[in-house]
Symmetry: C2
Subunit: 266 residues, 2 copies
C-alpha cells in the first residue's frame, strides 16, 4: 500500500520492536531473544542505531541501541513519539485447522486489530493442540509491522462448549453462519453502530470449523444471550477467509476504520 | 464454517468442477487435465459417481462420470441444480509482490467474489512477470470450492500507468491509501449504496505495493475521473490483507452480502 514516497521516514524508526519493559525517557531496556538476532544479522543494526519501542501500555518511544551482543543487548529510551490510545475490544474465536492456517490467522487478525485470539476446539475439528507461543510470536511480528501499539492476547485454548458456557455475558458475539437463518453482516453492524452502548462495548467474532458445528455445540451457542448469527454472502468461505472478512467489516463499520495510520514522515 | 450437519449433502455433488464445455441435459462433456488426476487419484472417483459441473454461463448441473482414464475422461450431464445468476462486477487491481502472495490473493479474491483480477506492475514493484496460468488455476480451484458459478478473469498484466491511462471511464475505482487524504471505506461504500447508479455499476479496488506509488503513478491515478481514495483504519496493512479487507467490505456493503449460500442438502 502507498506511503507514496512523499517524504522520507526518519532512519531507524521504521523498525519497531515490542517488548515488556516499562518505557520512559532515559530508561535502559533489555533486548532479548529472536529480535537480537533479527536486529544484528538481518537488519544489520549496531550500537547507536535508532529503533521504535512499544509495550502495549506506554505508547511508542524512540530508543538508541546501546549494546548489541550475540544473544542480548540494551537500548536507551529517548522520547515518546505516540501516546498509548484505546483500541477496539474485539476478540476472534476460531477453531484451528492446520498449523499454517493458524499462523496465517494470527498474523492477519493482528493486522486487522483484534484485541484477543481465542483458539477453540470443536467436535468436528481434528486439531487438539495449539502452540500458543508460536501464535504469540506471529502476533508480535504482525503488530510490529502494522503500526499497532499493542499485541493481541492469545487466550488459553478451550473446548467450544466450555468457552460458550463461560461466555462473558456483556460481550456481544457474532457467529459467522453459512446455513440456517442469519442477518447480513453489514446490516447487523450498521444497527449496532447506531446504538451507543453496542458500538462502544466488547465484541467477539466466532468462526467455526469447515466441518460445521455439532448439535451440542449449536445448543451451547444458542444459550449465549448476546449471539447474533451473521452471513457473509452467497459464497462458502474457507474458515480463515471468513474470519478476515468478518474482522474487516467489523473494523470498517463499528471499529476504528475512520482513523488513519500515523505519519512516519512527521 | 458451519454447514451445521443438519442434513447430508447428496453423494458426489459435493465435488464441483469448472469446465468450458456447454452444459445441457444428456450432453457428453470431456474431463481433462489436472482434474482427471484429482478425481481419480485424490478423490478416488470412478465411473458412475456424480459430480457438479459449471462453466460460468449455464448454471450448475449434476453429471455422472462415464469414463475416467489416466489422462482424460467423459461425463454425462444430467439436470440443472442452479441457474446462472448475475454476479457483482468488481475487479481487483493489485501489484504482485511474491509468487506465494499472488497465489494467496488469487485464491482469496475468488472466494470474496471478484469478477476479474488485474495484476499491475509499478515503479516500486520488483516483480515484472506474473504466471497468469497459475493464477487462473488458483482461481478455478477456489471457485470450485466456494460455490461460485463463475471463475474470475485474469486480465493481461500491465504497467500501472498504462492501466490507468486506459481506464474504462464508467468503472468506479477505490484506491486503498495509507497516507494522504482518504475517506473511510465504510463511509464511501455506504454513500455509494444510496446511489442506485453507483450501486449497480462496475467497480474496481486498487491496492498498491507495500513500497507505495511513484509520483508519476500518483499523477496517472489523479487523472482517472472515477477514483475515490479510501482508508482502512489506523493500521498499516500488508498489501494482501488490504486487498482482502477492501473486497470484504465492498461485498458486505455494496455487493451480494445479503445473499446466502446454496443449500446443498436440499
Amino acid at each position: 500500500m502507498g506511503n507514496e514516497g512523499e517524504a522520507e521516514i526518519p532512519t531507524g524508526v521504521v523498525t519497531r520492536l515490542f517488548l515488556d519493559a516499562a518505557l520512559a525517557a532515559d530508561a535502559v531496556v533489555p533486548l532479548t531473544g529472536e529480535r537480537v538476532h533479527y536486529l544484528r544479522n538481518v537488519l544489520r543494526r549496531a550500537s547507536g542505531d535508532r529503533v521504535g519501542l512499544f509495550n502495549g501500555r506506554d505508547g511508542e518511544w524512540t530508543a538508541r541501541i546501546d549494546r548489541l551482543g550475540k544473544a542480548e543487548g540494551t537500548a536507551v529510551v529517548e522520547r515518546q513519539i505516540r501516546p498509548q490510545t484505546p483500541e477496539p475490544d474485539l476478540w476472534l474465536v476460531f477453531a484451528p485447522i492446520k498449523k499454517a492456517r493458524i499462523d496465517f490467522v494470527a498474523e492477519k487478525a493482528t493486522e486487522l486489530g483484534v484485541s484477543a485470539l481465542w483458539p477453540v476446539f470443536t467436535r468436528y475439528t481434528s486439531v487438539t493442540r495449539v502452540n500458543t507461543d508460536r501464535s504469540r510470536a506471529n502476533a508480535v511480528e504482525a503488530a510490529e509491522q502494522t503500526e499497532r501499539l499493542s499485541v493481541p492476547r492469545i487466550l488459553q485454548p478451550a473446548k467450544l462448549q466450555a468457552a460458550m458456557a463461560a461466555w462473558p455475558g456483556e460481550r456481544r458475539l457474532l457467529v459467522c453462519a453459512e446455513s440456517g437463518a442469519a442477518q447480513p453482516i453489514a446490516q447487523a453492524l450498521e444497527e449496532a453502530a447506531r446504538d451507543a452502548t453496542a458500538a462502544q462495548g466488547a465484541w467477539a467474532i466466532l468462526v467455526g470449523p469447515e466441518g460445521g458445528f455439532a448439535p451440542a455445540e449449536l445448543d451451547a451457542l444458542r444459550k449465549v444471550a448476546t449471539v447474533t448469527r451473521v452471513g457473509l454472502g452467497p459464497r462458502v468461505l474457507r474458515a480463515d477467509t471468513a474470519a478476515l472478512a468478518a474482522l474487516a467489516c467489523w473494523q470498517a463499520i463499528l471499529g476504528d476504520g475512520s482513523l488513519r495510520p500515523p505519519d512516519r514522515a512527521a
